[in-house]
């Protein structure tokens, strides 16, 4: 475990020194919030409640989900693996004594911890601004929401690891990455809060992992979802995380044997 912590620590440090652009991404979250203010302001014009949200709670949802979305940088995992496999650079990971999946998890942990330093203040300040009138939800739900964030991110990293390593076989998984990103964004609630969707769709979605990465923890945090529903979601997420980990380990073992070391 110590070696994986070393990866997290060093990639965290590498962000501080060189990656000003990452900080910019985080600050971008603020921009998105302002944008949301304008858009939802127009939608709510003259109305008190839309889809069960008040204007304030809608904004709050937007702030919290934007912050979590900023932390979700797993997209880079699949594209980086894809790129490295294609160019024969992935071999560097194959010949050193590490578990590949844990490597990507620990690297992301390092980068995400860095991002969190920027995101957290944004979240707290906006929460204080829009959440005026006190926190309405259950404290247990909020804690569960917080706990679900790392779980969800871990799932996304594993999922993208799984996609990325298919480059061993297909040589280029750019298309898969593109295709899944549209789907995932929608089901994550990054486009619109999911509960605005019809019930049948919702019932299918709650069994998928993606809504529980951004939507569910956001709702739990703003007090828009009760603890029991949250617990069910967390269960779904954990099952998916375990399943995806097993699938990724299995796929890696199988796929890397097919690998011909292209590009070297």
């Amino acid at each position: 475990m110590k070696k994986y912590m070393a990866f997290s620590k060093i990639f965290f440090k590498a962000q501080i020194i060189y990656r000003f652009d990452v900080a910019v991404t985080a600050i971008e979250a603020l921009g998105r919030i302002l944008f949301a203010w304008l858009i939802w302001g127009a939608v709510f014009a003259g109305r008190d409640v839309v889809g069960g949200f008040t204007f304030r709670s809608m904004l709050l949802y937007y702030v919290v989900s934007s912050c979590i979305a900023t932390l979700d940088i797993c997209f880079g995992v699949s594209s980086e693996i894809n790129h490295e496999v294609r160019n024969g650079l992935y071999t560097k990971f194959m010949v050193i004594p590490i578990n590949q999946q844990l490597y990507w998890l620990s690297k992301n942990l390092g980068v995400v911890s860095y991002l969190a330093m920027f995101v957290l203040p944004v979240a707290l300040i906006s929460g204080w601004l829009f959440g005026a009138g006190g926190y309405a939800g259950q404290p247990a739900a909020a804690i569960l929401g917080l706990l679900m964030i790392p779980l969800g991110l871990a799932f996304m990293v594993t999922f993208h690891f799984f996609i990325g390593i298919h480059a061993f076989k297909f040589h280029d998984v750019g298309f898969f990455i593109y295709f899944q990103s549209a789907l995932v964004q929608f089901t994550q609630g990054g486009v619109i809060p999911i509960n605005l969707l019809p019930d049948t769709v919702l019932n299918i979605l709650r069994l998928l992992p993606f809504p529980h990465v951004i939507y569910t923890p956001s709702m739990l945090l703003i007090g828009g979802m009760d603890f029991r529903e949250g617990l069910f979601s967390a269960g779904v997420l954990i099952v998916w995380l375990a399943g995806m980990s097993a699938a990724a380990q299995f796929a890696y073992k199988r796929l890397r044997i097919k690998y011909d070391g292209v590009g070297i």
Partner: protein, 326 residues
């Protein structure tokens, strides 16, 4: 003790082939044609602990493929293979901790990190004890004179500077076997020399078994007592490096300079390369060159006479060609 053993080792790549032009592309969408490439065929190899072996051969001969199989990056198609008693493609951690590979073409480093960070990471990865780590880093950094580059991002290093770091990183955990695939490619003469000194020292001091591929014959000649020549995936030669070059180095280049205009007749069995009234250059058989030179000295009274080794490139060409015909 054998560190590396292979028997009848073969690798066949399947490659997808497409006819030229747009029509060919469309056709290949529906009817994929695969061609098989026998990159390494029935290769037998035995390398003992502490050996420094050179692996040479023309482009596409199968050198890198062999290294990829020995390091476990790819699985062989057939045949037996054992490195340090392991089947490489299983990629067990216990195996990976005992070897290192450096590819001149492909970096093993993390570009966003600094060399110091990279060293620390590898310390954790390989659980290198503190004192050994300090000693190794100090020793290698000094040997290569790279202390001024330790705290900059790897991506900003020049090729030569980076190659030195690659080698240091590869050697930090004191691997028993080191695979080097063209480690001196693109390096300037001074860096090449430094790299050679370094490798020689590592092989001698630490007893590291090294398999080196290179297109620079100077690397192989000065480092590897034993050479293996591979051509078209098959072994052509395996034995002493000196014998290899001697047996193919059949000619010498002889140059004569005169102070008066001289009409020179090329001796029997020699090939004229360049001729002017004051200077003549020709190739002579290596056997009996001393006698030839003294005869010429008496006959023409030149002001200068020299005999040089034949250009190494020509010798190598002959080695590769000889193997093909054999």
């Amino acid at each position: 003790m054998n560190v590396i053993t292979t028997q009848g080792l073969s690798k066949i790549y399947k490659r997808f082939e497409k006819e030229a032009g747009l029509k060919g592309s469309v056709k290949s969408l529906f009817n994929r044609k695969f061609t098989e490439k026998h990159a390494v065929s029935a290769f037998d190899l035995n390398i003992e602990k502490g050996e420094f072996v050179g692996l040479i051969g023309p482009n596409g001969a199968g050198k890198t493929t062999l290294v990829k199989m020995l390091t476990g990056i790819i699985a062989p198609t057939s045949g037996e293979i054992s490195v340090l008693g392991y089947y490489p493609n299983k990629l067990e951690n216990a195996f990976k901790k005992q070897y290192a590979v450096v590819m001149g073409q492909k970096s093993q480093l993390f570009f966003e990190l600094t060399p110091t960070d990279t060293f620390r990471l590898f310390k954790e990865l390989y659980a290198i004890p503190d004192d050994l780590y300090k000693r190794n880093v100090g020793y290698f950094v000094e040997l290569f004179g790279v202390s001024q580059f330790l705290n900059v991002q790897v991506r900003t290093l020049s090729l030569g500077e980076r190659m030195k770091m690659e080698l240091i990183v590869a050697l930090l955990h004191s691997p028993g076997v080191l695979f080097l695939d063209e480690p001196t490619i693109g390096l300037d003469a001074a860096s090449q020399r430094q790299m050679r000194l370094f490798l020689k020292e590592v092989n001698r001091e630490k007893g590291t078994t090294i398999l080196l591929t290179s297109h620079y014959m100077e690397d192989v000649r000065s480092l590897c007592p034993r050479s293996i020549v591979i051509g078209g995936g098959a072994k052509i030669y395996d034995g002493s490096t000196d014998n290899l070059f001697d047996s193919y180095q059949t000619r010498k280049k002889i140059t004569l300079a005169f102070d008066t205009e001289t009409d020179f007749t090329v001796p029997y069995n020699c090939e004229l390369i360049d001729k002017s009234p004051y200077k003549v250059v020709f190739m002579a058989p290596k056997d009996g060159d001393a006698r030839l030179i003294s005869t010429l000295a008496q006959e023409y009274t030149p002001i200068d006479i020299s005999a040089e080794e034949e250009d190494i490139g020509a010798v190598v060409e002959r080695i590769y060609a000889g193997g093909m015909n054999r």
